[in-house]
């Protein structure tokens, strides 16, 4: 079950490894998961999950204005495959 889910997680993460490296990776992840088991014993009733350090109230919001920041040339500079003002990728829709 754990193994299947790890395979699936690797697909979600869009990674592909050779079999022996994949084994090593899974073994190490299982060690981390074993170590995290101690958290399962805790009574956490009544506690709200915490996702941010500070509550959202009090954080500043910036004005909803259009700001000219990067230009197309700057944005495209690091792309390995481009055509005109576009990033270039292989076919997105393929026939099965």
């Amino acid at each position: 079950m754990e193994e299947q889910l790890l395979e699936k997680s690797m697909k979600f993460a869009k990674l592909e490894l050779e079999e022996n490296r994949k084994r090593e990776l899974f073994t190490s992840i299982k060690k981390i998961l074993e170590w995290e088991v101690e958290l399962e014993q805790l009574n956490l009733d009544g506690l709200e999950p915490m996702f941010f350090v500070f509550d959202e109230q009090g954080l500043a919001q910036h004005k909803d204005e259009v700001v000219k920041d990067n230009t197309a040339d700057e944005i495209l500079f690091n792309a390995k495959q481009k055509k005109g003002n576009f990033f270039r990728v292989p076919k997105v829709v393929t026939q099965k």
């Binding site: 993460a13 869009k14 060690k31 998961l33 506690l47 500070f54 495959q81 990728v89 292989p90 393929t94």
Partner: protein, 490 residues
């Protein structure tokens, strides 16, 4: 004037009184860097730009228009800060040739203060590691060799930053800290490093690891320089939506207030855990010094503090796996031109660009975020985070400052391959709790262990109470008078 003896404070004075020009100072630094044993500190040296900006400083000095105390001060940046037009690699193959299209707020602020960037320094790949050994460019070597003359790690992930300051390759450096990545290398290299309160330094232009934990801070030779540097790095930035709109004080004005009347506590769990004997003894010596200075010392117990590390390894990988989805190789990064469809392109690019530790954490994060584990692991971890936050708040209702060792050991030898990642993660035992709840913490050198490697002490305060940290740190620094130099400089 020996540049190795300079601090920000003394260098600024020398520049202002024209004992040395900024250009001469930068030239001296590069002469030293280029003629020294290679510690693999720099990923990219920016000598040309540094000389140009030194000339600008000199013309400002001539006109009596220095921008700040940092004008002309040579610094390095961790290679995680985007620096416009300059390669920014995050020490990863993924970004090996990435030229930053814009400037991070922190590096921009330091530029506006007149500081001179000498280069970008090495780190653990994507800031994941505590020994600098995960860097695609190979590990940085700690300038401290110890009695046995070994090659030691500088700590991580800001290992190049800490080493550049310890080796006197710069007067200060920037770092980032997600679980201890400023404080632990500061401790390993015998320098001062502070992670301020979450939300003090803008995260804009810093390559994200775990957004709710990441925070930038300076690494310096001493406490006064730390207060100076931090003052020029903090400040509200509308580009980082997790910041408070608030004013930050001049931290240098707290340096000489002493510890009299302060309540300083430590946790029983921290000194009972697996801790080197020398570090433990050194820690208790520091407590005695505080007591003599008029502070009240308290021993507290917080058994939950030991939950912080496993909780961190839920929260951090989850946020990383989500943040790192941007690395698809299309807009930047590794790109396999032979891929025949988009799915294959993503997989090939990512598998080619990421190293082992990064892959481990991304897959772990994806595993925890799966529908099977989301509630039972992730939400549970987020609840433990709340529990820790509540407990820490209770502690700071009662005390001003909490102290602990920075790390359970001093720097270890390069290449000690450990197959169980959990053993490596224990390096961050004392530093991780602060990131989970956003507290500020500073590490400073307090002595050497039997191997003659530096020991660090961590000083922690409540949110936005860096004033208390600097009071305690400067007081201890004066009393301890740590003057040891790394072997590299002897």
């Amino acid at each position: 004037m020996k540049i190795q003896d300079l601090t920000i404070e003394t260098a600024a004075k020398a520049l202002k009184t024209k004992q040395i020009s900024s250009l001469e100072m930068v030239q001296e630094f590069f002469k030293f860097i280029n003629s020294s044993e290679d510690l693999n500190i720099f990923v990219t040296k920016t000598e040309e730009q540094a000389l140009e900006s030194a000339k600008k400083t000199d013309s400002r000095i001539a006109k009596g228009e220095m921008l700040s105390i940092l004008d002309g001060i040579p610094i390095t940046h961790k290679d995680i800060f985007l620096t416009k037009g300059i390669r920014t690699t995050n020490s990863s193959k993924m970004l090996e040739d990435f030229i930053a299209p814009y400037e991070s707020t922190v590096s921009q602020k330091l530029k506006d203060s007149g500081s001179v960037m000498l280069g970008k320094v090495n780190m653990d790949e994507f800031a994941m590691g505590s020994g600098n050994e995960t860097s695609y460019f190979g590990p940085t070597i700690n300038p401290w060799k110890g009695k046995d003359n070994k090659k030691n790690v500088p700590g991580g992930s800001s290992g190049g930053s800490a080493a550049s300051v310890a080796a006197s390759f710069a007067l200060a450096s920037t770092g980032t800290d997600t679980g201890g990545s400023i404080r632990q290398p500061a401790s390993f290299c015998g320098v001062v490093g502070i992670k301020p309160t979450y939300g003090s330094c803008s995260r804009y232009g810093i390559i994200s690891f775990a957004s709710s934990l990441d925070q930038a801070g300076p690494l310096t030779k001493n406490v006064t320089d730390s207060a100076i540097m931090l003052g020029h790095m903090v400040g509200f930035d509308p580009k980082d939506p997790t910041m408070h709109k608030k004013d930050f004080p001049d931290y240098t004005k707290f340096l000489d207030l002493g510890v009299k009347g302060l309540k300083i506590a430590y946790l029983k769990e921290h000194v009972e855990s697996k801790l080197d004997e020398d570090i433990k003894n050194d820690f208790f010596e520091s407590l005695e010094i505080f007591k003599k200075g008029g502070a009240e010392i308290k021993e507290l117990s917080l058994p939950e503090v030991n939950l912080a590390l496993p909780t961190y390894y839920i929260i951090a990988p989850v946020e990383a796996s989500s943040n790192f989805s941007r690395f698809d190789g299309v807009r930047f990064g590794c790109n396999d031109k032979l891929a025949t469809n988009i799915e294959e392109l993503y997989i090939k690019n990512r598998s080619m660009g990421f190293g082992d530790e990064v892959e481990r954490r991304i897959v772990l994060g994806a595993y925890i975020l799966s529908s099977e584990n989301y509630e039972s692991v992730y939400i549970r971890g987020a609840k433990v985070r709340r529990l820790l936050s509540n407990k820490m708040k209770e502690i700071f209702n009662d005390v001003d400052v909490l102290v602990s060792p920075t790390a359970p050991t001093t720097a270890f030898e390069i290449g000690q391959k450990v197959t169980d990642p959990v053993i490596n993660y224990l390096n961050d035992l004392y530093t991780v709790p602060l990131n989970l709840v956003g507290l500020p913490g500073l590490s400073m050198p307090t002595g050497l262990d039997k191997k003659e490697m530096p020991i660090g002490l961590q000083i922690i305060a409540s949110h936005y109470r860096e004033d208390n940290i600097y009071r305690v740190a400067r007081f201890l620094e004066k009393e301890v008078d740590f003057k040891e130099k790394p072997h590299f400089l002897r």
